[in-house]
Symmetry: C2
Subunit: 268 residues, 2 copies
């Protein structure tokens, strides 16, 4: 067994994408479910994969027939993953074409093995992939997990850091933890963006000042600032909270309408 960390390196000659591979468009780790029991769980795992852009699912000795109607139903539209799934008689056959294999397990095994988190594993998989190295992740059967013999086929153990008093993870959730990390790695989504409807835009400071002036004039008029020495502080506080709201230009107009409407009621 070779420690994974020692294989980290930039691509070197001879390790570019495998020639003649028909999977050149497939990216991301292969998901290998070993002796899965419920079709429903296979389907939910397929759905989780599709959510994360993973499409290569392999099944080693599924308990029930395959194709499986419960799997198809639970996949909720992730049909492509289900249809492409391949069935194998042995774990060895299922992983034969892979160069790096991870074994998912929560329990510590009495083995000398590197244990990586999904977050770290996907970084390695991504780097490996650019060098033509395909990775796969094995998931054991519901409740029981992987056998030690299967774990011994892996380069590393993959463990999802979870609440130590409750680590029993649903199969589809375990697949999702991997897929989720994989997809986050590739996505260029901003951590936070302000979504604004197409027909409007953030108000500029002139428009916002117009709102402030409008509101403060009416508040003056209504006697709101009756303790005059407090007025500057009150004005600042009101402006602060309105600034924080990041008004669109449309919302400025709406709020000016609100002021006008409230004033009308008082004046009438």
């Amino acid at each position: 067994m070779m420690a994974l960390t020692l294989l980290r390196r930039k691509c070197v000659a001879g390790t570019d994408r495998a020639e003649g591979s028909d999977d050149t468009l497939v990216t991301g780790p292969v998901v290998v479910l070993i002796e899965p029991q419920l079709g429903e769980n296979i389907g939910m795992a397929a759905r989780a994969m599709m959510n994360c852009g993973l499409t290569d699912m392999r099944l080693v000795k599924p308990r029930d027939e395959w194709p499986n109607q419960y799997a198809e139903a639970a996949a909720s539209g992730a049909t492509m993953v289900i249809e492409r799934a391949r069935v194998y008689d042995t774990t060895e056959a299922a992983i034969a074409d892979l160069q790096m294999v991870y074994a998912t397990t929560a329990r510590s095994r009495d083995m000398t093995t590197e244990v990586v988190t999904p977050r770290e594993a996907v970084v390695r998989m991504k780097k490996d992939e650019t060098c033509g190295v395909r990775s796969g992740v094995m998931f054991g059967k519901e409740a029981k997990g992987l056998k030690n013999d299967d774990v011994a086929l892996a380069n590393s153990i993959l463990t999802v850091p979870l609440n130590p008093v409750f680590t029993s993870l649903n199969l589809a959730q375990a697949v999702f933890a991997l897929g989720y990390e994989w997809f986050q790695l590739g996505t260029e989504t901003e951590d936070a963006v302000l979504a604004i409807p197409k027909e409007t835009r953030l108000a500029n400071k002139m428009e916002l000042q117009g709102l402030f002036d409008h509101l403060e004039t009416e508040l003056d008029d209504s006697g709101f600032f009756h303790v005059l020495e407090k007025k500057p502080t009150m004005v600042r506080n009101i402006r602060n909270v309105l600034q924080r709201a990041r008004f669109t230009e449309q919302e400025v107009r709406t709020f000016r309408g609100i002021i006008t409407s409230l004033v009308k009621k008082r004046k009438s």
Copy 2:
């Protein structure tokens, strides 16, 4: 509506943990399921929460009776979450004690709202929590998601970055995406560690050199290095691959046993 980014700040006086709160030991965001339909999904969500150390679940108008036997079964032991779950008639009531509320949605809404990823959201929630600010995340009913009226009660939208052609996320998976990020934030798990059984340890270089010497002597003896000028390179290559394996002291002994055994066979 106030933009969340503008509320980022260190704790200031008066925002310390709420007085008289009976939830002082609870940490992490509250999970608010709005009009959930299947008890099974509530149970799987509870299991996902427990996996991630979250315990405060609230249900707004669940379709079926509560307590619900299907929820209990699907929770697979996350009984504490199910038993503590509270049921509300309105979303407003369910979030009344929370200061920051996020609305989970994949679809873009025709609203001016900040959209954050789970990874960013949990960082904010953690900071807020240290200032006594409790956060909650709303999840809509299966398939349909949240109503716009519920989204409008939130400070921000929370969107899990997913495969744009397949964003339909199972309810429990959406809860898990949040919980998973929350737990990763708090965990001090190393990205990668070498797990070694208690009764052994990594071999030291003297032990490893012993293995090299043993192997190379026997290879010499067996005629393996018959092209003498190639011997230095071959020795280096063999040592390289064995170094990468990061042998334990036990494994060194095993491999020396292997060499002895192989030699015996040849010699006999």
